[in-house]
Symmetry: C2
Subunit: 272 residues, 2 copies
């Protein structure tokens, strides 16, 4: 469950990005995130834990610097002991925006899960600090996080692997590199396990800017595929054998290019 | 438009198969087609025109022979002049089932389109002769036939190429090798051109057995993905620029594994 809001505060934006966001030539998504965080006066802290490259944090600091942010930090958290470090929590508390990089989402959940850093991210977001994460950093916003599964269109009984995520929003399951890696099958598998979930498939260079009312706007060059299983009349998930194609009747699908909007609470799509 | 029914006759089954149907070890789809055509007393005529291999016709005759069919023919139609041959039309008229092989669907439309053979296929099917076609032979049943397009999930303005097909059924557009080749994007592009169409995506070794009431049953090891655009509330197709991702709100999706049924006229999915 997301942290409860403190009276009088609004949750910060939650911004999952589908990976491979434009970084140099008109970095629309990152620039909009920076603008929300206060522009040049914003303070952005990068968490590069998902990546196993040493320079990922510094690289994003440079990108944010190029966009005009005067002050940014990168937290070199590479193991669970680092995620207990009180000085890192203090740095987070000075931030107006938190940015979590790509890599392996299981590094994020295994290293950050249940630590003071994870608690701080959830509490700060509930208090108004904006969160953006790309690829692995997008997957981790789900309460039920996809860690692997089958590619293609047709879902199967064993078509997706889930693990507990950070749960900044608990009614969506996020997938990334969606069109590029043909991930509808695994997202359909995930939402058909329990249709209270809404599936959000993010293309590369595409982000869902989710506001405090749980309404998101699509930003970027690709699309967001929303899989809404609320009206499913029949699913063979419970009887299917491992590897069997599933029967699913009445899945609602929305494809949202730039500017398209979706109300997660009301399960309703809009344009502009 | 399909040929009009003659009073007192029922249209034969129309059976598009998604390609790569099992041929040797329990060939479920081909055996069901043979049973509809009268079993060992059925007369099946193979049209191998889509293929550029010399032995495709003989190969299918052998398969039907193995299933128990006593009498089969193959029509060696490789150019338009062949499709005018009155003796080939006479052979078709003796058949209880017509089987059109895979290959290139543009060979079927360019060689058979507007010839006595194409007319005979349409008229005989309207009079009760069953039609089955795999891959290219499945694509050609559509009035608006897919000949190429983009792979992936997200449709684009220029995401599919269409050509006139044989039109045994005029409200569906059929795609094949659907899950295996990630063809949702091009099927969504096709139905969003004009949402009177219903998209039928056939996996390999999977067939839609469409009866004279336009209700089909799924047969085979994969699934059929039905894309029903009837309830689309908004489509950006008319304004999109070439290559742009589309916005499409409220597409209905059904995934139908073996036994799943769909009523094309009523646009309603059923199980068993």
């Amino acid at each position: 469950m997301p942290s409860p809001n403190i009276a009088g505060t609004q949750r910060g934006y939650v911004i999952p990005i589908g990976g491979a966001e434009e970084k140099l030539d008109n970095p629309e998504i990152l620039a909009k995130f920076v603008a929300l965080c206060g522009g040049e006066d914003g303070v952005i802290t990068v968490i590069p834990t998902a990546s196993q490259l040493d320079d990922t944090g510094a690289r994003y600091q440079k990108i944010f610097d190029d966009i005009g942010v005067k002050k940014s930090f990168s937290l070199p958290i590479t193991e669970r002991a680092d995620a207990q470090n009180p000085s890192y929590v203090k740095t987070l508390e000075k931030s107006t925006g938190i940015f979590v990089t790509g890599g392996n989402q299981l590094r994020l959940s295994t290293i950050l899960g249940g630590t003071p850093i994870a608690r701080a991210i959830r509490q700060l977001n509930a208090q108004g600090v904006h969160y953006a994460g790309t690829s692995a950093g997008a997957a981790i916003v789900s309460q039920h996080m996809i860690t692997g599964g089958n590619t293609g269109i047709v879902p199967t009984e064993d078509g997706v692997n889930l693990a507990p995520g950070m749960g900044l929003i608990n009614t969506i399951v996020v997938d990334q590199h969606f069109n590029q890696r043909n991930r509808l099958a695994r997202l359909l598998s995930a939402v058909s396990y329990n249709p209270f979930l809404i599936g959000i498939g993010l293309d590369e260079d595409t982000a869902a800017f989710i506001d405090h009312n749980n309404v998101f706007t699509t930003v970027g060059s690709g699309a967001i595929t929303v899989v809404d299983p609320s009206d499913i009349e029949y699913s063979s998930m419970a009887e299917a054998r491992t590897g069997d194609a599933l029967t699913l009747l009445n899945v609602k699908l929305h494809i949202l290019a730039s500017g398209g909007r979706f109300d997660i609470s009301e399960r309703k799509a809009y344009v502009k």
